[in-house]
Symmetry: C2
Subunit: 225 residues, 2 copies
């Protein structure tokens, strides 16, 4: 069991071979498995950070929220992804609130904040990797910013539907219009109207809580143009 875990971490954490034996032991002894149901909030911005989540299986979205409850998805995490923001107390200078929500049933390993903090202050390899992670999420967020600021809503919705089909592994999937709006930082009514337009044009078929893409090519062209 422990050998199995060690092999997995060695595979997933690029710094594994570059840290000392006692540091590896520290991780192995303090890491904990966590399971979350679909929809469950894993980390809410304000609360003290749980630590560093490593997604073993499932899917997670990171999002921000306004006072009025409006949301927008920053990026999504999958197998083998690490979430640096659940450990944001490790980083000085971070003063914004990120929320994490399991989108499907999700299993994570959790490295305690304290352990990760120590490691990144002791090990150059870990610090460099934290840098890479941070830069990678920064890139994700900048992509989202560019979408929101510079791309019209029809393109963004088409893009989202295509992406969702990839995540779900099928061109027909379950999702409510309310949830689509939450991802895109828009309003349900706006999603409703645009989906009905897409349906009218024969791009999709909409049902209660589900969507089927029936003209993938048209959606792709809409995105590209």
């Amino acid at each position: 069991m422990k050998e199995h875990l060690e092999a997995y971490l060695g595979d997933v954490l690029p710094f594994w071979k570059k840290i000392e034996g006692r540091q590896r032991e520290l991780i192995l002894h303090t890491i904990r498995e966590n399971k979350f149901e679909a929809g469950q909030i894993m980390h809410a911005g304000a609360e003290e950070c749980a630590g560093m989540f490593l997604v073993v299986s499932g899917q997670v979205r990171a999002f921000i929220e306004s006072k009025e409850g409006k949301e927008i998805t920053l990026y999504r995490l999958q197998e083998r992804d690490l979430c640096i923001f659940s450990a944001s107390c490790v980083l000085r200078n971070i003063n914004f609130e990120v929320f994490l929500q399991a989108e499907k049933e999700t299993t994570c390993y959790l490295i305690p904040t304290k352990v990760f903090k120590e490691l990144s202050q002791e090990s150059l390899a870990v610090s460099n990797y934290a840098n890479d992670l941070l830069a990678s999420r920064f890139s994700d967020v900048m992509w989202m910013v560019e979408q929101v600021l510079f791309v019209s809503f029809d393109k963004r919705l088409a893009q989202f539907l295509l992406e969702q089909a990839v995540f779900e592994g099928s061109d027909e999937f379950q999702i409510t219009q309310e949830n689509i709006a939450r991802h895109l930082g828009s309003a349900r009514e706006v999603v409703s109207r645009m989906l009905n337009y897409f349906a009218q044009e024969g791009y999709v078929v909409v049902g209660r809580g589900k969507i089927s893409i029936v003209n993938r090519k048209a959606l792709e062209e809409l995105v590209d143009f």
Copy 2:
């Protein structure tokens, strides 16, 4: 002269005392002074990175640009600030284009990309500091994102005018409505209309290429509410 530079760097770079003598020498020998006029583009996203700018005096804005030429300011840098993105080639995983523009006449020191890259891979202190810098800019950008997504335009404009007054050191300052729009990611016409509304309410007096805040309190209340 060199002693002067060394003292300055020791004061400004938190990792200075934690790196080796030969590393300090490397920086001292490769660092170059650069001057930019107001309005000059210091770094354009696409081009190869110049290196790491350290702002000695003046003011710099970091912004992104759409294909159509629409801009929005991500954050602004002042004396003693370091710009990690002009050295973005140091970071893997960064694939978005940041532009840097001198807002006033600006003097910088430039640490070559190669030197900074080497240091951050050799020195834990430098790597940790790069982390802090990245997290700090990430925070700045998230603040901007929250403003754009969750705050109405009148509040954002009021906020910008108050901030600008601080930067300029006076409640009367020179700026075109076109430039305000560029900062806020909006359109000149929208700025024009809102400024005229502010003027009508007695918050500001607008002239060609200049603005005077005459009711600071009203603007502050608008922002806070």
